[in-house]
Amino acid sequence: MSALLTLKDVWVEYGDRIVLEKVNLDVAAGSFVSVVGPSGAGKSTFLRVILGQEQATRGTITLDGAPLPPECGPDRGVVFQKYSVFPHLTVLGNVVFGLECTQAPLLARLFGARRKAAEAEASEMLEAVGLKDSMHLYPAQMSGGMQQRLAIAQALIKRPRILLLDEPFGALDPGIRADMHTLITRLWRQYELTVIMVTHDIREAFSLGTRVLALDKRRHDPHAPHRYGATAVYDLPLTKPAPVEPEAPVAQGAAA
């Protein structure tokens, strides 16, 4: 498999604080990479650098062989733990928004037949995440799990090259989390996604990922803890059974 995303010698520093050091990584197309690590190990920074929200101080990141532009773009979709959906748009409006942005540069709104087409595409996507019946609700009227489903649909409508998940299920209760695991696994297979997911739930990391990456500091200076950054200390490829029919919930997300 060819590498879709490549990080070469990536460092992230804030002033004299080093967050990430010497991260080298090849992410193959179609893989599901889980990123785990202790709090403050730079998991979220790692994700934000790939997202383009933050810049690497050193090193290069290439997507499909081309260097990443220094800002976020539609080639990388994202689902955050919170605030991923627009509170002022309905469920349908949230998903259609992505289509409107590209198709209507000036007004960012579609009308008539083009709007119909966009809404049809959006409702198909909403059906895939199980929100078909909630299309006209506002996010505030929905549960946390439903909001995350919406955030996923919203990201997927742009067919991103890579989908970044920042503790997407961290705020959900265990039952809902199991449902979401099934959903994301199904979508990953159905849309042949490449996913990078940051999580603090080790079980979730192993049950969903095809590869688990553990970020941590290799060295620790007790007098200047900020001078060493984190890097991938473990990189475990997991062999998974070949994709079969939608399987049962992979694991209980709750601590065992």
Binding site: P74, G98, A140
Partner: protein, 271 residues
């Protein structure tokens, strides 16, 4: 039961709210009656009947000089100034607030200027306005705008700037550029806040309107109050003040209603 846990029903709330207002009214009536018992020509605390007659006359009988119905001419003139001032300030707040809130370069360039203007007491600028713009309508409207716009601009800019960064990032991953983010993400979320800012600006706007009218005008609610003060005409002043209060309350309620109607998502949209 602790007072913090007391639940007040609708009817009870109405009754409780009426008590202090009722007491004040009764207190006034008693004091007024006492003064009139001592001196039937008392002007300081007029009886309701005197106020009614005075205001009725101003509503019904054309003025000898201008042949206007004074009360209505005053109301119209004041509302016109107030409306213009509020309208211009609201538009400015929306436009400048959005630009300042969404675009960091604009904020860096104009933020200090807006802050600087906001800390100047507007009344101190009144002489400058009268000198620069004359004693006409422009200066009065300008005073209202200068008085309330900077605060509203800062409020809207602050609110837009405080939108979760995640939303702005998410919009970009959905293909939106600066303009589209401003139009579709920031603008709609700024509108409910704009209405709140407008509501809070109503009070100061009335203050600036009445100040401007008191100093240089020939018609208007504020002008009339300050004019009849010379004759101790409390029978006109009190109804005028009550009328201003009523207008202000109506505007306040109308803005609240408008906000819940137009932006249900901002009001916890029926859980």
């Amino acid at each position: 039961m602790r007072w913090v846990n007391r639940h007040i029903g609708r009817r009870q709330a109405f009754g409780l709210g009426a008590i202090p207002i009722g007491l004040l009214t009764i207190g006034y009536l008693v004091a007024s009656a006492q003064r009139h018992a001592a001196n039937p020509a008392d002007k300081i605390l007029p009886l309701p009947s005197a106020m009614g007659t005075a205001i009725w006359k101003m509503m019904q009988q054309p003025d000898v000089l201008s042949s206007n119905l004074v009360f209505w001419a005053d109301t119209l003139a004041s509302l016109q100034r107030l409306g213009l001032g509020l309208g211009i300030a609201t538009l400015m707040a929306l436009l400048v607030g959005l630009l300042l809130g969404v675009l960091p370069p604009v904020r860096a360039m104009f933020g200090p200027l807006v802050t600087g203007i906001a800390v100047i007491p507007p009344i101190a600028l009144l002489p400058i306005l009268f000198i620069a713009l004359g004693l006409g309508e422009t200066a009065k409207v300008a005073l209202i705008v200068i008085g309330i716009a900077p605060v509203m601009v800062r409020d809207v800019a602050g609110h837009v700037g405080a939108l979760p960064r995640e939303q702005i990032v998410k919009a970009q991953t959905l293909g939106a550029g600066s303009w589209q983010i401003m139009l579709r993400v920031a603008l709609p979320q700024a509108l409910p806040r704009l209405l709140v800012a407008l509501k809070l600006a109503l009070g100061p706007a009335w203050v600036f309107l009445i100040s401007a009218e008191a100093i240089a005008s020939d018609v208007g609610l504020g002008y009339r109050i300050f004019l009849v003060r010379r004759y101790l005409a409390m029978d006109v002043i009190i109804p005028y003040v009550a009328w201003i209060a009523l207008l202000a309350i109506v505007m306040d309620v109308a803005l609240s209603k408008l906000s819940t109607r137009a932006f249900p998502w901002a009001h916890g949209a029926a859980h």
